[in-house]
């Protein structure tokens, strides 16, 4: 069964350092999402891509966060500099075709970030 892949699974970094997360969506999925999930809460959308284009980054803290999906396949989310409040689970999800009303999102296992 196809899955969304993410790496690393766990990351510990010191504040003010740079950190990057990688996501490989399910093959053929045009839409890719990055979410942040604080412990005990539901995921919150950071950025949404349709192919290589950003369609929603309204909740992305652009002073320190950046995301790219250069070839419309895998994606990288970067934080620079990391702050203590960035400690969370970062989840990647993908879906097949929003323009056909296929909204089901498949989530990866996430990257657990701890900033010290």
């Amino acid at each position: 069964e196809a899955e969304v892949a993410q790496s690393p699974r766990y990351k510990i970094t010191e504040k003010s350092q740079a950190v990057a997360f990688w996501c490989d969506p399910i093959s053929g999925h045009a839409t890719l999402y990055w979410y942040r999930q604080i412990l005990g809460q539901g995921p919150e959308l950071l950025v949404q891509f349709q192919d290589e284009s950003v369609v929603d980054d309204s909740q992305l803290p652009k002073d320190r966060f950046s995301a790219e999906r250069l070839k419309g396949v895998d994606s990288t989310l970067k934080i620079q500099p990391a702050e203590l409040g960035d400690s969370a689970m970062y989840l990647c999800a993908s879906s097949l075709a929003l323009d056909r009303g296929l909204y089901e999102q498949y989530f990866g296992p996430g990257t657990r970030l701890t900033v010290t």
Binding site: V4, T31, G40, Q41, G42, P43, E44, L45, Q48, Q50, V55, D56, L91, A93, S95, L98, G101, Y103, E104, Q105, Y106, F107, G108, P109, G110, R112
Partner: protein, 113 residues
């Protein structure tokens, strides 16, 4: 403001009993709802969805009920098993939001053997 929330943060049930997890939403324009299950250390897993033109949908051991009058959503799990122990989230989206999901806080389901 817009929100999707859950009435109960924790739910403990006996193995074999039925479970009901509730969710409230505040925006009547919401037209698509999804229930996700999240086990410890894993990403959310799709369970079942329902569109606003329906009031009930059944899956394998799960049923989702939608009451648009009171903006309420529930997930019923029949014959709850230990493997059902997890945090359950409801999420909403609207077609004009391009698939953007708004998640509730979550309910932790604990199944006692």
């Amino acid at each position: 403001g817009e929100s999707v929330g859950l009435h109960l943060p924790t739910l403990s049930v006996q193995e074999g009993d039925n479970s009901i997890i509730n969710c409230a939403y505040s925006n009547s324009a919401s037209d698509y709802f999804i229930w996700y299950k999240q086990e410890s250390g894993k990403g959310p897993q799709f369970i079942i969805d329902i569109r606003s033109n329906m009031d009930k949908r059944q899956g394998q051991r799960v049923t989702v009920l939608l009451n648009k009058t009171v903006k309420h959503l529930s997930l019923q799990i029949a014959a709850t098993q230990p493997g059902d122990s997890a945090v359950y989230f409801c999420a909403e989206t609207r077609y004009n939001q391009g698939g953007k999901l708004i998640f509730g806080q979550g309910t932790e389901l604990s199944v006692k053997p």
